[in-house]
Amino acid sequence: MFIGQDITRVDALDKVLGTAAFAHDLKNNTMLFACVVRSSRPHAMIRKIDASAALALDGVVKVLSHKDIPGENLFGAIKKDQPFLAEGRVRYKGEAILVVVGVTEEIARKASGLVEIEYEDLEYISDPFLSMRSAILIHDGGNLLSHRKVIKGDAGKGFESSDVVVENTYSTTWIDHAYMETEAGIGYTDERGHIVVASSTQNIHYKMKEIARLLAIPPEQVRVVQATTGGGFGGKLDVTVEGYIALAVYHTKRPVVMRYTREESFLGHTKRHPLYIEYKTGAGKDGNLTAVEVNIIGDTGPYISYGETVCLRAAVHATGPYEVPNVLVNSRMFYTNNPVSGAMRGFGVPQLALAHESQLDEIAERIGMDPLDIRMKNALKRGSLTATSQVLHHSAGLLETLKGIEPFWRARRKQGPGSGFGLGCMYYGIGNTGISNPSSCYLTFTPEGRVEMHSGVCDIGQGSDTVLLQILCDALGMEEMGIDLVRGDTDTSLDAGSTSASRQTYISGMAVCNAAQKMREYLEGQGYYSGKPLKDICREAAEKGLPVFKGHFDPPTTAPDPETSQGAPYATYAFATHMTEVHVDEVTGVCKAVKVHAAHDVGRAINVSNVKGQIYGGVAMGVGLALMEEFIPGKTESFDNYYLPTSMDMPEVEAIVVEDREPTGPFGAKGVGEPALIPQAAAIVNAIKDATGVRMRQLPCDIERLKLALEKNKIK
């Protein structure tokens, strides 16, 4: 049995010893260095580019512009709309314009500083409210990217029959993924003439296809390898350095390395969507929710990235994990000239959790009900109908997570003034929203008698390599971990889809189970289970050519109705409850998260340490989201003015693992990556209210916002 065991991660030793090769470690002295020249304007026409001084610099090999792109100069995870290199117009500060290739990093960077660009500024569309009214169009089709609705029952009638109605507005800001490793990669042409790129990434097959389109070559002639990756959180889903590396290799015919500085990383890559949320909740005197009406307005920046995904996912999760008979959600994303908002841990759901959890606490307060009780009363459970009228047939352990927290909640005691406790709940659909998002893999043997797993899954630090091996061992009924892992390489694996949407354990885990099933049948036939050694089986098989067993899984979902979003957008959901204790210093506005209890229904914890690791990390990110992180376009440049929590800001975390097994998942497993973050900021904000009487509706509640709110409250 490997499932449920704390197997040491397969990458642990290399990381502890410092021998793991991150993308930049793959460089050598023969490689050219490439760097990007970026727009210094948020919105402008490019009138003139003068690269002569850069080209004149000794050691500069090439300066590449959009004209040097042999294929299509557009990329995008969902729709192809973002230029690799700007063509005549820039739409955000930091947009890539040129790639400068030099013999060293120093020369390339110096040369990129010598490029002169003349701009003619256009009106800077600085927020979605300006965007929706402005006559200036960021794209020809208009400034509205997406409008999704969720309509269930009759919200108007629901409010009429409510005893209490609470209506408020919430807002959040840009968050940077702030992975430890900035975007980096290397590239070269191999002996077959194929373009090879090894990079820090969350998805290899997607990037292979984008490079092929960029260079107008068949995808089979592109190989993308995932280097050891120092964090992703959604920021390495979009093409980052990969396209530029491939382009530079294509033109110079020499190996090329790239690595963003931290400043460039902040400037260049996507951010969490700032959302503005108008939220109206109705309930009966008994605490039963009657209706919810939500109006979401998002700043998606100038290109799509995952804007539509966030728009829809935020909408279908807007009610939170509760049974609400009447729902009306309008979710809209507008283009602006701010940084491109993209995927970041939770795809809009952490922002919504702030709103629905604050609302629920206010309802509870109005009717004099305990915050835990009102959550228990409305919690989704087996058989419940979600906001999209999906029946939860299987795993739905929200109540168990609430019960896991209950003893700590009931026993809570305030530690003097400034002390407070708050709850936050969430549910989260595993995998992409209402669309096919399959994973594939294949298994074979080595002639020496080991099982070989070929996996295209990108382990970005969350531990999927180990988890998939555990699943495979148990699926094959192996007693030892006699498996070789061949991973993260488009040449040797099938497309497993992105490491995102908390999907790899569930979806790729099922693909592994599917392949294992086939291999198992084969082994059965060969007498493995009646005692024939694998070595012998493989030796014999090798003579005829080793068999290959493909596995595939695509979670059953239905596309949301275009008008109402009704349907079953996810095959399964994860659930969680967090309880956070804070201490607020009312003199300084400093809020410290002191202690967190975090209960997560993960279906089945394949690897308990991995699950807990995700929970600790998610809480840390939640502390940042709630209390300090804020990217201000045009101002934030580096960690000098972007505050990320440190170990000293971390609360003590007690993780409680709830296992309501999911029959459609591998050994009952669902996912936990994003859920770990989602309810934390909400729990903190609710705790601040409990501690001070002040309700914070804008994130982050950094020391200044909190102090000003406390002062205002005093005057009242």
């Binding site: 009312e586 440190t646 800001d649 020391i703 200044e704």
Partner: protein, 278 residues
Amino acid sequence: MLPKFASVIAKTREEALSWLSSLENPRIIAGGTDLMVKMRAGKQYSHVIDVAGVPELLTMTETDGRLSVGSAMTHARLSTSEPIIRNARSLALACGLVGSPQIRNMGTIGGNLANASPAADSIPPLLIHDAVLVLESKETRRRVPLEEVIVAPYVTSIDRKELLGSVEINPLRGYREGYRRVAKRATWAISRLGVAFAIKEDKGRFTDVKLAIGSCTPMPFRPKKVEDLLKGAEKNEAIITEAIRMALEEIKLISGIRPSYAYKLPVLKGILEEVLRG
């Protein structure tokens, strides 16, 4: 990336002084936690003289009741130094709150003073200890009160050819002394506000009050009028309220109204209340 520069490592004070006088465009480096940041941002210094290992700058001595602290002593050392904890508790506390363990292990008190940031944590404590800086060049040696050395934010009257050798401070004994700072996160953050205080009370009266406020005005300062008001006064809410009013007035007089004051002034008021009430 760092610009190119030449560097020398001084082994003695003497050597540092002669490098300073002979080299063109010299720049002293101690811990480098300010200087390297500037150089990475593009500042060019052709000659960098490393004084971090100069033994004369790493000693602490007591003479005539004054304490002399070597300028290359690190925040880490000062925060745990027995004589500092005993004689200048606010300084020990402030040094212990600078940056992070790494920064405290590298950063020095001399660098903190010479950099003269409005948010430098060691400055408010040094002000209440009437710090005097010993500045030396090959030809000269002068002793200048800290208040006179800092002439503007990030600007001092230390000559390029001068070495800050040591800082002399007045020990304070029998005072309730401390340092309060506010920052955007628990560690590794520049102060948004810093208050050093040393208060002596007797039978319900303030017999002596020393206050210094950092990160609020262009240079950390001592609200001397407030100190005078409190000295000898009966300790009660009325006088504390008046003292705070005066302190806030003085700040507005120095800097006018700044957007950050919407936050800082109410916080300062709260901190001063706590500090004065004790």
